[in-house]
């Protein structure tokens, strides 16, 4: 009996000695006994984070890339020969076949509440899920409003889990400097009212206070007219948007047809939106999906937005 006890104590001590890594995951702890050697990453924005940290040799598969977007040549170069397990949302079978230890995805970024692939359905197969922080709000309504920490924290979490923390810190502090420089330039300028639009629709799909574009618009020295919406991405009405009279538009460019220019044309022909300052002055910018979802591309996108919405800076 005594032996058993001391063996148990030793076992506990030994497991404590092994480098156990814990990060926050939508308010719950996510713990790894060792650095994952095999990971699968979903979507362009999260893949960009992993590439920025140089994790290519640990990535055994990507999901949700070619089903929706055209990739850039840079992205393809960084990707090399990493296979895509599923062009849109993966099935458990797709993931299990690649035998990963971790899946980096988010709610409506590769996973649907109650769907086939969720942290709960992957756990029995030994696959831990790192959930994109921006998407936590889909299950937990008490999240803080969006800030650029959504990007910084996720890169730091990924860096910590994958044992490249120093690199992550360097990236994040570089980004913070860039944003501070933008803030210094725009601090004394009046903040234009900015409206973000996903594309032509009968009711506009836009970013509320929990989606990262809300924080990006603020970082670029603007004010999101739909900041009052208690949602991540969600629908509002043309009346509400037109009443706010936006002065600048951020249009999502899906790289189909003429991209964001088609969306702008739609607004020019819209009976109410055509009367807003932004449409009359043709003050808009088109940004790609990975620039408007949490990822390294956010930083350049903020710089582009700041330059476009404050012409005096140029």
């Amino acid at each position: 009996m005594k032996h058993l006890w001391s063996a148990a104590v030793l076992a506990v001590l030994a497991s404590g000695a092994a480098a156990e890594i814990t990060v926050d995951n939508c308010g719950e702890p996510l713990t790894f006994d060792a650095t994952p050697e095999r990971i699968v990453v979903h979507d362009m924005n999260m893949t960009d984070m992993a590439f920025a940290l140089g994790l290519q040799d640990k990535i055994v598969g990507l999901t949700g890339i070619t089903g929706w977007y055209k990739t850039s040549a840079d992205f393809d170069d960084l990707r090399g020969d990493i296979p895509e397990l599923a062009p849109k949302y993966p099935t458990v079978e797709n993931l299990l076949a690649a035998d990963p230890q971790m899946f980096f995805a988010g709610w409506y970024y590769g996973m649907q509440p109650g769907g086939d692939v969720t942290p709960d359905t992957l756990a029995p197969f030994g696959i831990k899920t790192m959930v994109l922080t921006e998407s936590c709000v889909h299950l937990d309504k008490n999240r803080p409003e969006a800030s650029m920490d959504l990007l910084f924290d996720d890169v730091m979490r990924l860096g910590k889990v994958m044992d490249v923390e120093v690199k992550a810190e360097a990236l994040v502090s570089g980004w913070k400097e860039e944003l501070a420089a933008i803030e210094a330039k725009t601090a004394d300028l009046t903040k234009p009212r900015v409206f973000l639009l996903d594309g032509p629709a009968d009711a506009p799909f836009t970013a509320g206070k929990f989606a990262i574009p809300d924080a990006m618009i603020a970082a670029a020295g603007g004010e999101n007219v739909t900041h009052g919406m208690d949602t991540s991405w969600g629908r509002t009405s043309w009346e509400a948007v037109a009443a706010a009279n936006p002065e600048f538009l951020v249009l999502l460019d899906y790289q189909t047809g003429n991209g964001a220019a088609d969306t702008f044309k739609f607004l020019q022909e819209h009976p109410v939106m055509s009367q807003t300052d932004a449409v009359k002055n043709e003050a808009w910018i088109g940004l790609r999906y990975e620039e408007l979802t949490p990822g390294p591309a956010n930083i350049d996108a903020i710089a582009k937005m700041a330059a476009a919405m404050h012409p005096v800076l140029n």
Binding site: A86, T91, E93, L96, D120, T121, H138, G234
Partner: protein, 335 residues
């Protein structure tokens, strides 16, 4: 009787073949020898280490194939029961507003309460929603002191619309992305099939099969009309009500793990009647086998046609169903 046994035997052979195919094919290609090895390993008949492909076969595909068979069989029997008790050829398991109730339950937890019970949150919510909707329909019918089939259909329709409205309200008032999650409940899918919940669906099938087998003679009597059935000593009202109740319960169990899989319950009884006639002693087992084969086959198609993506199985069953109705109409028109 000989014809029935032959049919059942044939059906069983087809079903087993489909179950094997369903285990062999999926959204990832796995060589056949590995599949065989995985099944043997899972059953403890051979030694070796459990590689990921083995887990895919034994913990995803095998339960999934069996889920499809059990749920297909169950929906087939529920279809028979409801078509007989309502004397309506178009009655199906979702008559009681079950589908919209289940969807409303699922959307309610997605948009309002969040993930409270982990893996079981959505199944429990969908089950509860489905049961509430059917309870409303049944109590409505009960309080009207009638079991007239057309009243049931109207009540089911009204409740369906009500719950569809609630679902849409929740989506628009809350998280509009929840609309994506609802698709699973509206179109069905077997992606959540796991050994853990297998006893549950088996219980659903056993419930409906045992009760209808036990009451097969009464159901036969009902085919002759209410008056004749009454003179034969069948408590028509009570029978109808208890059948509705059991059917709703079984269907809610199926919906809670697989969403709303349309047309199986509608189509299977017709095919089965064409093969073995209207008497329930033959009709019930035949419908069960056909339902099982149909859903297992449809599930294979749903996984293979767009691999590595997966199609909701309801899309497959409803397209087969629509073709089936065309054929039915064409044949009736010709004869």
């Amino acid at each position: 009787m000989a014809r029935l046994s032959l049919n059942l035997l044939l059906g069983a052979v087809v079903l087993i073949a489909l179950l094997l195919l369903s285990t062999a094919y999926g959204t990832t290609a796995i060589p056949a020898p590995d599949v065989v090895h995985a099944v043997l390993l899972g059953l403890g008949l051979t030694e070796g280490e459990a590689a990921p492909v083995h887990r895919i076969v034994f913990e995803l595909r095998l339960p999934r194939a069996l889920f499809a068979a059990v749920i297909g069989a169950g929906l087939g029997i529920v279809g028979v029961v409801l078509q007989t008790t309502t004397r309506n050829d178009l009655a199906d398991p979702f008559l009681f507003g079950l589908s919209s109730g289940a969807a409303a339950g699922a959307v309610f937890v997605i948009t309002v309460t969040g993930d409270i019970l982990g893996f079981w949150t959505l199944p429990v919510a969908a089950f509860t929603g489905g049961i509430i909707a059917s309870a409303i329909v049944l109590s409505l019918v009960h309080s009207l002191r009638t079991s007239a089939p057309e009243k049931l259909i109207l009540a089911g329709l009204a409740v369906s619309f009500l719950f569809a409205a609630i679902t849409n309200y929740l989506i628009f008032a809350g998280d509009s992305r929840a609309a994506h999650s609802v698709i699973f409940w509206m179109l069905g899918g077997l992606g959540l099939a796991r050994w853990d919940s297998f006893p549950l669906v088996c219980a659903g099938l056993l419930l409906i099969f045992a009760y209808t087998a036990y009451r097969a003679r009464w159901l036969d009597a009902l085919l002759t009309g209410d008056v004749t059935a009454s003179t034969l000593g069948v408590p028509v009202q009570r029978l109808r009500f208890s059948m509705f109740f059991i059917a709703a319960l079984a269907t809610a169990v199926f919906v809670s793990v697989a969403g709303v899989i349309g047309f199986v319950g509608l189509m299977v009884p017709h095919i089965a009647r064409g093969m073995v006639g209207p008497l329930h002693r033959n009709l019930i087992p035949t419908s069960a086998i056909i339902g099982a084969a149909l859903l297992t086959g449809s599930d294979i198609v749903s996984r293979v046609i767009l691999a590595p993506q997966e199609l909701p199985v309801g899309i497959v069953t409803t397209s087969i169903g629509a073709l089936f109705v065309f054929l039915l109409l064409y044949r009736t028109a010709k004869s």
